[in-house]
Assembly symmetry: C2
């Protein structure tokens, strides 16, 4: 599934073939320019008020990967993958609203007046001392961008595994993560040496409700015709 | 970009062309079987411990869309889109771990013994009275599945817009959402009548750090060569 830029990479093939991969070729290195390009593609994801509160700490230094290993429960992919991308949520991300919307004004997508109104509203909505509102926003937006990043990686011939199993406090200390950044997940990125394990999914009718949630029967496909 | 099942839908075309669309053909109806199929595709997304704590309340009844309209700040897409999909996080989703891993045992992906260990660990980790750990998990996992859902919709010729701007308390009351479900976002899904507005993104080098976060200069592309 290498992107040769000559033939299309089938969307459904990408989502069907993406699996959590835990075994990587340790000698495989991904040039930073290529990782950067994947991040550019990933960040076309949408976000609340387009604040894009995601930040990326790309760990591609082998010593630092070794340092992360015990913090991430000694999961071997931490040292074998080409890079570990820590997806962080910037709890002060709303402070960039002026810059973000100014870009839109500069490109003619928005008037100065609309920008001012939006910036004022965002500042009012998000600026709270304990960042409680932003916390929820960065977790969801962090999920959005992480998904697109994992798919982009797959489309470019790489594999990934999202990792939530690590000691957050130790991670923040070891990598000197300022308090304003909330770790969302670690994503191992590399060239697979073994395919990911197949997994199963809950039947869709068990997790889908039509128009009302109280009546479980309404979730069955028997009623799923209009 | 209709999926004719005959030619591939280019992955990068899908991610480049997905935009938040706020104007839909109000007369356009999407068959439930097609929405269901999109949810099947979306839920191949990964989740923490594969718990898949996402649930979907699909609102395709016009009266209910009208009921939702004032709750969602009178955003017209609520009544004009074919369906509003409320993505919910099940704070008791860990209770399905036995079922999920039994599926894997049944398909030969896992031994009974491994299943038991996993189920015990998950139950220990997630079963807390206030659901604090699950809250964070469902927000991130809800983001993952929402992103894949929006991309799948685009690949199938539809458009979407994620909405966080609604009164959550009113929504939960009006649609009788049990406390165990945390609303993640509303996604309007339909046939666009007008394209989405273009938006801008922060320069990737401003949001990317290489190996350490403390030194802003290290985020610049000047150093982005190994």
């Amino acid at each position: 599934m290498e992107n040769t830029d000559k033939q299309p990479i089938d969307f459904f093939k990408v989502i069907h073939e993406r699996r959590s991969v835990r075994h990587y070729k340790p000698e495989w290195s991904i040039p930073r320019e290529e990782i950067r390009e994947m991040l550019v593609e990933a960040t076309s994801a949408p976000s609340s008020s387009n604040l894009q509160p995601w930040r990326f700490l790309v760990i591609d230094n082998q010593e630092l990967k070794e340092k992360l290993l015990p913090i991430a429960r000694n999961q071997k992919q931490v040292v074998e993958a080409s890079a570990i991308i820590a997806v962080l949520g910037d709890l002060e991300g709303y402070l960039k609203s002026e810059q973000i919307y100014q870009q839109s004004v500069d490109r003619g997508f928005m008037t100065e007046e609309v920008k001012q109104t939006l910036v004022n509203n965002i500042t009012k909505a998000y600026a709270s001392r304990d960042h409680e509102i932003m916390k929820r926003v960065v977790l969801v937006d962090g999920g959005l961008v992480s998904m697109q990043l994992m798919l982009v990686a797959k489309a470019k011939g790489y594999d990934t595994v999202p990792m939530g199993g690590y000691d957050e406090a130790q991670f923040k200390e070891a990598f000197e993560i300022p308090q304003r950044y909330l770790p969302i997940m670690l994503i191992a990125l590399g060239k697979a040496s073994e395919p990911g394990h197949p997994t199963t999914r809950l039947p869709v009718d068990e997790i889908t409700f039509w128009n009302q949630i109280s009546n479980r029967d309404d979730a069955s496909l028997q009623n799923a015709t209009k």
